[in-house]
């Protein structure tokens, strides 16, 4: 919220400096984000008139200008394009103090300049055309001190307002805060103090639950009353555009000044004339001030005349009853509306106004009459012939201050402090001067502070009053062992392993476009969709981490990288049975050279399936019951036949494979040499044991006897896959491992067959195996291979 320093100062006996003010407000939680100078602060500038323009002898873009300042004619050098003979302009003589400092005598391209024709920026003025010199109205008198033509120098403080600070939304309210927290003496605004009867325009409240108070003042004889310049200047500094009509500008002025929104109806346009605060009838039409037709519903409160809604309460007035320059008689509305009702109406209609902003945060129920009288006073100042003919204050729900019992021990227990009773009492007294000193204190909540509901709220006020620094950093918290969740633990482990294997972790957004879903062959019907996406690029919640990783791959390839190994851990979302499932997954891909950059001696190449499969083996090493399987149905974004399913203890542990050519093409990759894995973390989390001792794998004894190995080359049909052979070795006596060391096809091997070389290692716990022992076992293996797979010893 913008606060004008001079305006705030109107309400303080001894206003502090702007900087001090900002510090004082900040300390109690009202953060001043910016202090900006505004208005005219220059000196030595008078109104001049351009008499003659000559070319500068040494510069094409400069001119020599004769200026009259009323006392004489001076010659200046000027570079502006918009100068013309006869113009009235702000003319600064040598010695003038401008935005950039003091103006000194200067020779410009060899010609002496006796002053300067100023632009708005040079004068330090905001909100004016700044494309050239500032041209003043033709009727401005030459020789007048130019500073008198502009608003006075002032400061605009930009104060950050939190949603609970409804009691701070005006100049007077901030002065009051300074009064409460720093004991600064307050001054009151002038108000209309006369009296008038309540009869005239009848005011009825049909919905007291939505409108607890309605104050109306009727004024007659207003025709042609204009907004005074000082008021227009202040409104302009607030960023509000004054209309010149005191009825509109005055109403805004009172809102910024006191925090109470008001509204003026043109009585001649009111049916009846009468005022009724009632619920809207379903489907009732209403045309707003800015000529929008709304359809209302009974959840909304309207201020109606005898027939139609004249205002959507607290949000906006109606076009049909609006004041104009011809208005002669008005009814000032100053009311208290139910905050949620105003908020709902504002949300439903999409109309946000300064008024709805204040009403939905809660206005002071005791302020309505004062605000109406203040507006009346301002209007009467501008229209001295006008008369107040009616003052009506309908208040079906009187404000009953809640009483909170405050015991000092309770306050200190909440804050963890040892604040003396006297200090707490002094704070409460600054809110409620008549508070009796009997503990526990019975604190009556002031009408403007309805956010104070309990001793917790009071404790905060006391901490603000004394300063939050009173809270010490001490604790007697008992020690407690901490724990982690299974998903946290397995995520950390997985991330560390992948990083150690050479993968870089990335973070992508959870949102996808329909196009990206389609490119991955995903069904949008199963995806969770945002109702209010920022754009169609971010419309769906991801079902898989693949699109984000592909985009990351693309981003890095575009920046010249030739090898990419990345992974991400994140949530994926799916609709399920009318609800949703969230699944945390870990996915990654590798593409390009492996290892990155190659090796000068060779031994590198393009990343392929077996690299990634090996990484998966390493990732799951030591996890019981891990295996690869041929998937029954792999996700569509894998190339068919080039994907394996992973299983951990029977549960699905994701997939590893090569990207489908169609997906690679849809993401504009030149080929599909992109290898991808995706693992649901639930499988790991389910197997995770919280107790350290349970997690540890017991160490098996190893043989004290030397081990023995033999290589065996066999030739067999290609249809017999390695996994089948491997399974067949189980049960071979003393076999410690069977490691595939070579696969060969080609010369000397008939088509359709291949040669496998396997190294068998034997080890016994009971003794040294001699050549005969090993030979017997090798014969058994070869027999088995021959029998099961038709394998023949390679010659």
């Amino acid at each position: 919220m913008k606060i004008l320093y001079s305006w705030l100062s109107d309400f303080l006996e001894n206003p502090p400096s702007p900087e001090d003010l900002a510090a004082k407000l900040g300390r109690v939680g009202l953060k001043v984000e910016e202090i900006k100078k505004t208005g005219a602060a220059f000196t030595g500038v008078s109104v001049g008139q351009i008499l003659k323009i000559d070319k500068h002898p040494n510069a094409d873009k400069l001119a020599l200008v004769d200026v009259s300042d009323g006392a004489g004619t001076l010659r200046v050098v000027c570079g502006a394009k918009n100068i013309a003979v006869g113009q009235k302009i702000p003319f600064a003589k040598v010695g003038a103090v401008l935005a950039e400092g003091e103006l000194k005598k200067a020779k410009i391209r060899g010609v002496e300049s006796e002053g300067m024709i100023c632009s708005a920026a040079e004068l330090g003025l905001d909100g004016y055309d700044n494309s050239g010199i500032l041209v003043l109205p033709d009727d401005t008198a030459v020789g007048v001190n130019a500073v008198t033509l502009f608003p006075k120098a002032d400061y605009v403080l930009d104060v950050e307002m939190l949603p609970n600070q409804s009691h701070c939304l005006s100049h007077y309210a901030l002065a009051r805060e300074l009064g409460v927290f720093y004991g600064l003496k307050l001054k009151e605004a002038r108000i209309f103090e006369g009296s008038a009867g309540a009869a005239g325009v009848p005011v009825a409240i049909d919905a007291p639950e939505l409108c607890t108070r309605y104050t109306a003042i009727v004024i007659k004889g207003l025709r042609g009353a204009r907004t005074p310049d000082w008021m227009a200047d202040r409104l302009r500094a607030m960023g509000s555009n004054p209309k010149g009509n005191i009825l509109i500008d005055g109403s805004n002025y009172v809102m910024y000044e006191l925090g109470q929104p008001t509204h003026c109806f043109d009585i001649s346009k009111l049916n009846g004339p009468a005022i009724r605060a009632r619920r809207a009838v379903a489907g009732e039409a209403f045309i707003t001030l800015d000529n929008k037709t709304l359809k209302l519903d009974p959840g909304m409160l309207v201020i109606a005349d005898a027939k139609n809604p004249a205002a959507l309460a607290g949000v906006m007035g109606g076009l049909d009853t609006a004041v104009s320059d011809l208005t002669d008689e008005i009814l000032i509305e100053s009311a208290r509306f139910n905050p949620p009702t105003v908020r709902l109406a504002s949300k439903t209609t999409g109309i946000k106004s300064e008024s709805s902003y204040r009403f939905e945060r809660g206005t002071d129920p005791e302020l309505t009459l004062k605000a109406a009288r203040r507006l009346a006073w301002l209007i009467l100042e501008a229209a001295p012939a006008a008369k107040v003919t009616q003052i009506t204050d309908v208040c079906p729900v009187k404000y009953q201050p809640p009483v909170i019992e405050i015991a000092p021990a309770r306050v200190n227990a909440i804050l963890g402090t040892g604040i003396a009773d006297g200090e707490i009492y002094a704070c409460l007294r600054s809110f409620q001067p008549d508070l009796k000193d009997a503990k526990p204190w019975k604190f009556s909540v002031p009408s403007y502070r309805q956010d104070i509901e309990s001793v917790w709220d009071a404790a905060e006020e006391i901490a603000r009053y004394i300063g939050y620094d009173v809270i010490p950093a001490v604790s007697r918290m008992p020690m407690l062992p901490s724990s982690v969740t299974p998903s946290w633990a397995v995520t950390a482990e997985l991330k560390n392993t992948l990083a150690a294997l050479g993968f870089s972790e990335v973070y992508n957004y959870d949102f996808l476009s329909a196009k990206e879903m389609q490119a991955c062959g995903l069904d949008a019907a199963g995806a969770v969709e945002l109702k209010n996406p920022l754009s169609s690029d971010y419309q769906f919640m991801r079902e898989t981490l693949l699109p984000g990783l592909l985009k990351t791959l693309r981003y890095n390839l575009n920046r010249g990288r030739e090898s990419v190994m990345i992974f991400e851990t994140g949530t994926t979302y799916l609709k399920k049975d009318g609800g949703k499932t969230e699944e945390v997954r870990c996915a990654g891909l590798m593409a390009g050279d492996f290892p990155e950059g190659g090796f000068w001696r060779g031994g590198q190449g393009a990343a392929d399936f077996y690299h990634l499969k090996g990484m998966m083996t390493r990732l799951f090493a030591g996890k019981g019951g891990f295996r690869f399987e041929t998937p029954k149905k792999a996700p569509g974004y894998f190339q068919p036949g080039l994907c394996l399913e992973m299983k951990l203890g029977g549960a699905g542990a994701g997939y590893v494979g090569k990207l489908a050519p169609a997906v690679a093409a849809a993401f504009d990759f030149k080929d599909n040499n992109i290898f991808y894995f995706e693992i649901p973390l639930a499988c790991l989390a389910a197997a995770w044991k919280p107790e350290f001792w349970q997690k540890i794998t017991k160490i098996k004894p190893v043989s004290p006897f030397p081990q023995n190995w033999r290589d065996l080359s066999v030739v067999l049909e290609e249809k017999h896959v390695w996994a089948e052979l491997e399974r067949s070795f189980s049960g071979v006596q003393d076999l410690a491992s069977a490691r595939l060391i070579d696969v060969y096809k080609g010369k000397n091997i008939p088509a359709g067959l291949r040669s496998l070389t396997i190294r068998f290692t034997f080890s016994s716990m009971t003794g040294t195996l001699n050549d005969a022992d090993v030979g017997a076992r090798m014969t058994a293996i070869l027999d088995k291979l021959a029998r099961n797979f038709g394998a023949k010893l390679r010659s």
Binding site: V28, G29, Q165, P339, R343, L344, K347, E360, R361, I414, L415, G416, T417, S454, W456, E460, R464, Y468, D469, P472, A473, V474, S475, M477, M479, L480, S482, T485, W488, A492, K495, N496, L498, A499, G502, E505, V506, Y509, D510, F511, V528, E529, L530, K531, N532, L534, M541, T552, Y555, R559, M565, T571, K575, G579, K580, E582, F594, P595, E596, W600
Partner: protein, 352 residues
């Protein structure tokens, strides 16, 4: 044998040793060693002969013998080095400065590193990890946290809604903060509670240098008997010292979050300029000496009541911090977008 004879003999041995050692083609160093220094080698035998020489003369001779032995050993070692057991030194054709095998270097994301470190700090203070869903119900994200329907505080967090309804028929939403985990945890267990809950949150905001529509928070909650704002300040100060060093101090400023009362904005003393920023404007704290880092406060009694905890019996504190902000400070990143661009030139700089 007398001393003179002994010395002559030693000199002869040294002479023949130097011939052996310089022989071309080179003799096997092991053989030379055996001949001269072995148990029955020439020098060993000569040293053994010392016992026949009178004691008073023996000492200087012994020293001479030992010196000769050492000299021979050194020469032999040199010879072995030149053509040792491992074979002759290969010179020139092996450039040891060539690069080694390029084991791939991976990296953890700056946000992960930051989050892990923060979680570790709080684990030391007894805070356990708790988690919750990202697609939330209005009740957990707002209502139970003392954001009544139609309360303007809801405007503080622009919310994304999804095409799903909760059991009460309200639109489900993407959680705008990690605070719903407070409610889920309290509803699921009896006090005391001491948890942190890190995770992703969403707000419908345009992306710029300091905003993102998806970002990460860490939530903290402690409920017990007699918990005060002083406990909160100690906890956060201890955490900050752990993260930013022992000189870090914490300052509370009044602030507002619906689910705490009193509420505070928490600032840490600027460890980057150590408060000496007045002369040169510190870009981190902008010359104020303090960096705004999190929001905190005493758990609001309405929140306790929503979870069926009696506010007369139990009290607590809660805090929440944006992890991006910490990561940006720790890694010296000035634009939040850098954290989501996933440029490997950036990410691979992270050391874990």
């Amino acid at each position: 044998m007398n001393a003179t004879e002994w010395k002559e003999k030693l000199s002869a041995i040294r002479g023949s040793f130097s011939v052996s050692i310089a022989a071309v083609p080179a003799e096997n160093p092991e053989a030379i060693e055996l001949r001269y220094l072995g148990r029955k080698g020439e020098l060993a035998l000569l040293l053994r002969d010392l016992k026949d020489i009178p004691l008073e003369e023996r000492k200087p001779l012994g020293a001479l013998g030992n010196a000769a032995k050492q000299e021979m050993e050194a020469k032999l070692a040199e010879l072995k080095g030149a053509a040792g057991a491992a074979g002759p030194v290969v010179k020139a054709d092996l450039d040891l400065t060539l690069p080694g095998w390029p084991f791939p270097k991976g990296s953890l994301h700056p946000l992960t590193v930051t989050l892990n470190r923060m979680a570790e700090c709080f684990a030391k203070l007894g805070f356990s990890i708790a988690e919750g869903p990202l697609i939330e119900e209005d009740y957990f994200n707002f209502e139970a946290l003392n954001f009544p329907p139609f309360h303007p505080a809801r405007d503080m967090q622009d919310t994304f809604y999804v095409d799903l309804k909760d059991a009460s028929g309200k639109d489900m939403l993407l959680r705008t903060h990690t605070s719903p985990v407070q409610i889920r945890t309290m509803k699921g267990q009896e006090p005391p509670v001491r948890i942190i809950s890190p995770g992703r949150v969403f707000r419908s905001e345009a992306v710029d240098a300091s905003h993102s529509f998806a970002f990460h928070q860490i939530e903290g909650l402690y409920i017990d008997k007699h918990v005060s704002m002083a406990d909160l300040k100690w906890t956060l100060e201890t955490f900050m010292k752990d993260l930013f060093g022992s000189s870090a101090k914490v300052r509370f400023m009044p602030s507002y979050f619906p689910f705490v009362e009193p509420g505070a904005e928490v600032e840490v003393s600027c460890v980057f300029c150590r408060g000496k920023a007045e002369a040169v404007r510190c870009p981190v704290c902008k010359g104020t000496g303090w960096i705004e880092l999190l929001g905190a406060g005493v758990v609001h009694p309405n929140v306790l009541k929503a979870c069926n905890y009696d506010p007369a019996k139990w009290s607590g504190f809660a805090f929440g911090a944006g992890i991006e902000r910490f990561a940006m400070l720790l890694f010296g990143i000035s634009d939040m977008r850098m954290l989501y661009e996933n440029d490997l030139r950036v990410l691979k700089q992270v050391q874990q």
